[in-house]
Structures are given as C-alpha cells and as structure tokens.
C-alpha cells in the first residue's frame, strides 16, 4: 500500500515537472540563432545538402566521436558479461533448432543486397536522409539474418575486431587531418566542398560517415552475437 502511494506520488511529481514543457514546446516561431546559423552556413561552408548530417559529422563531430566511444564501451561490456565461462555453462552445449529452408534461401539472396543497401545509405548521408548510424544498423540486420539462418555459426571475431579498430582509427585520423590541414578537429574541409548534390562533395563528410557506419555495424553485430549466446 505504502509502495503504491509512493509510485503515484512519483508519477504525479514527474507530471507536474513535464506539464510546462508540454505546454511551451513547439511554440517558437522560427529556429533559434544557432540553428539559423547552421541552416544558412552549412551548405555554403561544407557543401552538405542534409544539414543534420553537417551537425552530426562536423559542427558537433566531437559529440559523435564520444557517442561512438560510449557505444564501444557498451559493446565491450555486453561481450565481457556474457561469456560462457562467466555464465557457468562451460560443459553444457544446448542444441538449437535448425532454420527453415525458406529462411536459409532468403538469407543467401538478401545478405549481399542488405549490405549494399547499408553502404548506399551511409555513402549518401550528406545528400539524403540517412547516414552512418542508419546504414550501420542495416548492415547489422544483414548479419542478424545470417545468425538466424545458421544458429550454430558465429561471427568471425577477428574480422569484426579488425573492422572496428580500423574504422575507429580512421575516424580519429580524419579528425586530426582536419585539425592540421583545415580549421579544427573533424573539420571536413580537407577536401574541396564541391557542388551540392554531387556524390563526391562536402569534403571528408561522406568518408567520416562511412567510417562511422562500418564501426556502428560491427559493434551492433557484436552485441547481437554476444546476446545470441554459445560463445566460447
């Protein structure tokens, strides 16, 4: 009884805090000064058609680097928590149901298409909606299909670790190139901005977003593989 009253009190308290937010949000007539600056300057300075990409990759690029680091830490945590030794399952190896013929055939067809689609999404991140995070998730979906189709199989951990380490190193290297050759860390103006709408434009923005895409794809696949289980 006491507990129910406390729960209700907590919810009512939160509701009181959130009410002014719900009332005031969205009433602003125009973007703020900072957003206006980004909207007007991003296409001219960086050559990106998608302003959100310009913010994620360049203006707030340091945040994104930190975010990728958090993602890496969480993946490492999941992997460390779920090894067989720690779970005390050293000897028992349970049998898994084999996948159906439909799933296996569809996987053979779809894997390459899904990976191609993921690469398409993150290569076009500076022109259309989408980018490294979305493309990385699509690549992780392709790997998930393979894990479902072959329940006994596992990711090649060497390959995954290699992709992740290389893309992380490439991300920082591109950032440092911006610091030395252009205005600051993660500045994409190392390469020419080009014309808006062309695939090869916006300096190093497509390169950075591709690297983020590969890293996110490898990390999310690692999480899925660790949670699936049966890892040595």
């Amino acid at each position: 009884m006491m507990r129910k009253i406390l729960v209700i009190l907590a919810i009512v308290g939160f509701a009181v805090v959130l009410l002014p937010l719900a009332y005031q949000a969205g009433v602003q007539p125009a973007p703020g000064a900072l957003a206006t600056e980004y909207l007007e300057k991003a296409p001219a300075e960086l050559g990106t058609a998608n302003v959100v990409t310009a913010i994620v990759v360049s203006y707030r690029g340091f945040d994104t680097l930190g975010e990728v680091a958090v993602l890496f830490a969480a993946t490492a945590g999941v992997g460390a928590l779920l090894t067989r030794k720690r779970l005390g399952l050293a000897s028992t190896r349970e049998k898994r149901m084999p996948a159906t013929e439909i799933l296996r055939t569809a996987t053979r067809f779809l894997t390459s298409l899904l990976i191609l689609f993921g690469v398409y999404i993150f290569v076009h991140g500076h022109l259309t909606p989408g980018g490294g995070f979305q493309g990385g998730v699509v690549i992780a979906t392709a790997i998930l299909l393979n894990l479902l189709a072959e329940p006994e199989s596992h990711l090649a951990h060497g390959v995954m670790t290699g992709v992740e380490a290389l893309s992380g190193a490439a991300y920082v290297t591109l950032g440092l190139l911006g610091a030395f050759l252009a205005w600051g860390f993660l500045d994409p103006r190392v390469l020419p901005a080009g014309s808006i709408g062309a695939l090869v434009s916006a300096g190093t923005v497509p390169l950075i977003y591709s690297v983020i895409g590969l890293k996110v794809g490898a990390e999310l696949s690692g999480i899925l593989d660790a949670l699936k289980g049966d890892r040595e």
Binding site: N50, V52, T53, L82, E94, P129, G130, G131, F133, Q134, V137, V138, A140, T141, L144, L220, I223, L224, L227, K228, G229
Partner: protein, 99 residues
C-alpha cells in the same frame, strides 16, 4: 492541419500501446507492444519533418531492440509470464499457456 490530426491519432495509439505494454503480464506481448510504440513514434518523427530520426527510430527502436529483447529472453530461459521464475527451454511455446 492534416499532419496535426495524424500526429494526434498517432499519439493516442502510442499511449494505448504503451499502457498495454506495461499492463500485460506476458513478456512477449510487452516486447512487441513496446516495439509498436517505437514504430508509431518513428511515424510521428516523419510527420514532424525529421526523416533522419525517423529512419533511425524505425530501424533501431522497433527493429534491433525487439531482437535484442527476444535473444535475452531466450538466453535467460525466463518463462513468458513475468511473475514466474520457472526456467523453460522455449519462452515462445509458453506464451499461450502461461497466463
């Protein structure tokens, strides 16, 4: 105006799915409904002029999160009924009988 009405309807669906996800005793139903909340939220994001966020929410919030939950449920041999501590080999087969 049309998008305002669509946002209101989507908000109502989202709230209903959210309440359903908390009220139900079946963990599988709860997982599916919370995936539904994310899917409707991605529709709202799209209506609000945020296609980037809508793509991410649809792919991660309603896609991969659901898979991660299902893997964890199967891995821990948790029975489908949330008050039960029984270990089962296949949570999905319990879904019909547990509640």
């Amino acid at each position: 105006m049309a998008s305002d009405i669509a946002i209101l309807i989507a908000g109502a669906v989202m709230i209903a799915a959210g309440i359903g996800a908390i009220v139900t005793r079946s963990l599988l139903v709860s997982i599916i409904l919370s995936g539904g909340v994310s899917l409707v939220a991605s529709l709202v994001f799209l209506l609000m002029g945020a296609p980037d966020v809508a793509m991410t929410e649809a792919a991660i919030g309603s896609g991969l999160t659901t898979v991660v939950f299902l893997y964890a449920l199967a891995r821990s041999k948790q029975a489908d009924h949330e008050d039960s501590d029984k270990r089962v080999d296949n949570p999905a087969s319990e879904a019909g009988g547990a509640s």
